[in-house]
């Protein structure tokens, strides 16, 4: 069973994979390709009218979640001292 904690962990791994290989992780875009050609469609999570939905047509852009949400991106510029003053146990 995939727990929420496991899901978040997998998301982090997927985000790292995006950065490292510029590839869309399979969990979010499972459209197999052979030499650049689409050979089959699978369900993907996409967006319409600001709401996620499951697209089964094979025509939608698969949703890929942000890499930085809830990350430390907003405080990454702080020095170690500045950061520890704010979050001594982080």
């Amino acid at each position: 069973m995939l727990t929420r904690r496991d899901f978040v962990a997998k998301l982090a791994v997927a985000g790292a994979a995006i950065g490292a290989f510029s590839a869309v992780p399979e969990i979010w875009a499972a459209t197999p390709r052979v030499r650049g050609e689409v050979v089959a469609f699978h369900e993907v999570v996409s967006f319409h009218m600001d709401q996620p939905y499951i697209d089964r047509t094979g025509t939608a852009v698969p949703y890929r979640p942000p890499q930085g949400a809830r990350s430390a991106a907003l405080v990454a510029h702080l020095s170690e001292e500045e950061f520890r003053r704010m979050q001594c146990y982080a």
Binding site: M49, D50, T57, G58
Partner: protein
């Protein structure tokens, strides 16, 4: 055990939040205009328990009402579940007992006969009371100070329809409300009951009529003389429900019908006009000019909702699920049943449009709605690959000149429905503030935007920052200090 891990659309920003909240003296950037005294009340849904079936509609989410209470420049936030019999039954059973959208055949037998409404669509302030609205049931009365649920309301027993629209219209010249229920006498009936209720909350008029086919009659148009009733594309049947499907499917062969009935008329006076495939889910405004009745609305070419799929098995087409602000004109002198359609703006917009409510049913100039500006920046690294797919702007559309002024929310934000608040009771049309909740996908929080309609391009005058993701909203309404018995 509650487990949402196998719900593919309920991740990240869109994961259920499931808590009730009070935030006193909210964090604010900018300055709250001191003339804003009252409340911005939002109604939407959240999943108390995961849906019973994977194909269920988000319209089955449990109702959740929230309120930004404005008083002398200070804002408090409160959020509460709408505690319907369905909510209470699920909570007692620790699981989802109710099946697909508006399909009681898919429910657990233990809840047979129970009100299965989820009260998640529109908040209404009328006759000094606060209500939640969902078009499959009666309104629910809510305590405007605690947001606790009081219960279903039938206007002293005089409102006979079993259902009540999420879009009643309040005539600003008289204060009376024109409202209706469809599938009014029961599931899968083609009855519509149309009512007028005076500003004291007393039913003064009822007309019963039938629609050409049973369909979603989500919104109407109101003029000083007529009521306009769009019927379009969504179909249902008892057979469909017994097969376990969601209530609606889309039939592209069905013409769009639009009924026009005089406000003082009877069922025999309704005239049905007929046009090509369209979906008029929400309206902007309407008026009567001589023998012409004019409706303006963000209208879709076809089915806007992927969770109510085509009945012929064809794939849902996102390219046709785009709304454009259009004008439909119905000539009461015409000999045939046709009507004209004009596209007023060439850009597609959110169909959750609003006008200055003081001009409802009257000639007007301005419409407000959200839209996607693909030329604005979007930070994909921080907000996900939603470039071009979020509503990042609010527009004030000038229907007299065809021009538009625009507010941009930011490169990690998506905007929910806009609401217009006049600067004062006597302010000119469209002069005031637009207000709406923005989802900040990067920082995983919700922000209430307040922008001056005279200076939209300059950005917002204030943002109320919530330290969490607020539940998703369908509709939000501003309620003035003097409209409800606020503490």
């Amino acid at each position: 055990m509650v487990d949402f891990s196998n719900q593919p659309t309920m991740k990240g920003f869109f994961a259920p939040t499931r808590f009730e909240a009070d935030v006193y003296d909210c964090e604010v950037t900018g300055k709250i205009p001191t003339e804003l005294n009252g409340a911005f009340v939002r109604l939407g849904g959240d999943w108390l328990y995961p849906p019973k079936f994977a194909d269920d509609s988000p319209f089955s989410m449990d109702g959740y009402i929230s309120m930004f209470r404005f008083k002398n420049g200070i804002v408090d936030y409160k959020g509460r579940w709408v505690k319907t019999p369905r909510y209470k039954a699920d909570l007692a059973a620790h699981k989802q007992l109710f099946g697909n959208y508006r399909n009681p055949f898919t429910d657990d037998p233990s809840v047979h006969g129970l009100d299965r409404s989820v009260q998640n669509t529109t908040p209404l302030c009328f006759a000094g009371k606060l209500f939640t609205l969902k078009e499959d049931s009666l309104p629910y009365e809510i305590d405007c100070n605690t947001l606790e649920t009081i219960g279903p309301y039938n206007f002293h027993g005089k409102y006979k329809s079993l259902t009540f629209t999420a879009h009643p219209k309040v005539d600003p010249t008289t204060g009376e409300m024109v409202c209706y229920g469809y599938e009014a006498s029961g599931l899968e009936t083609n009855d519509v009951y149309l009512y007028t209720i005076n500003k004291k909350g007393e039913v003064t008029r009822e007309v019963r009529f039938k629609v050409p086919y049973i369909s979603m009659v989500h919104d109407i148009g109101l003029t000083q003389k007529h009521v306009i009733i769009p019927v379009f594309g969504f179909v249902t049947s008892m057979e469909r429900l017994k097969e376990g499907k969601v209530h609606w499917g889309w039939d592209s062969t069905k013409p769009a019908y639009v009924g026009v009935i005089p406000r003082d008329g009877e069922a025999k006076d309704i005239r049905w006009f007929k046009g090509p495939e369209r979906a008029t889910v929400h309206t902007l405004n309407a008026r009567t000019e001589g023998n012409k009745v004019i409706l303006e609305a963000p209208i879709f070419d076809s089915n806007p909702f992927p969770f109510f799929p085509p009945i012929d098995g064809s794939p849902w087409d996102p390219q046709k699920a785009r709304a454009f602000i259009r004008r439909n004109t119905f000539d009461l002198n015409s000999k045939d049943d046709g009507f004209t359609e004009e596209k007023l703006f060439q850009m597609n917009v959110s169909d959750l449009g609003r006008v200055d409510d003081r001009y409802l049913s009257l000639p007007y100039r301005y419409a407000f709605t959200a839209y996607t500006d693909r030329d604005r920046p979007f930070n994909e690294a921080r907000a996900g690959n939603l470039r071009g797919r979020v509503s990042n702007c609010y527009g004030r559309f000038d229907l007299a000149t065809g021009k538009m002024s625009s507010y941009f929310a930011g490169d990690t934000h998506s905007l929910q429905e806009v609401c217009f608040v006049p600067r004062s009771k006597n302010a000119p049309e469209g002069d005031g503030y637009i207000m709406g909740l923005a989802s900040n996908y990067a920082e995983m929080r919700s922000e209430l935007i307040i922008a001056d309609t005279q200076h939209l391009e300059e950005g917002d005058v204030a943002r109320v920052i919530l330290p969490f993701r607020a539940t998703s909203q369908v509709h939000g309404r501003w309620m003035n200090e003097d409209q409800l018995p606020f503490a």
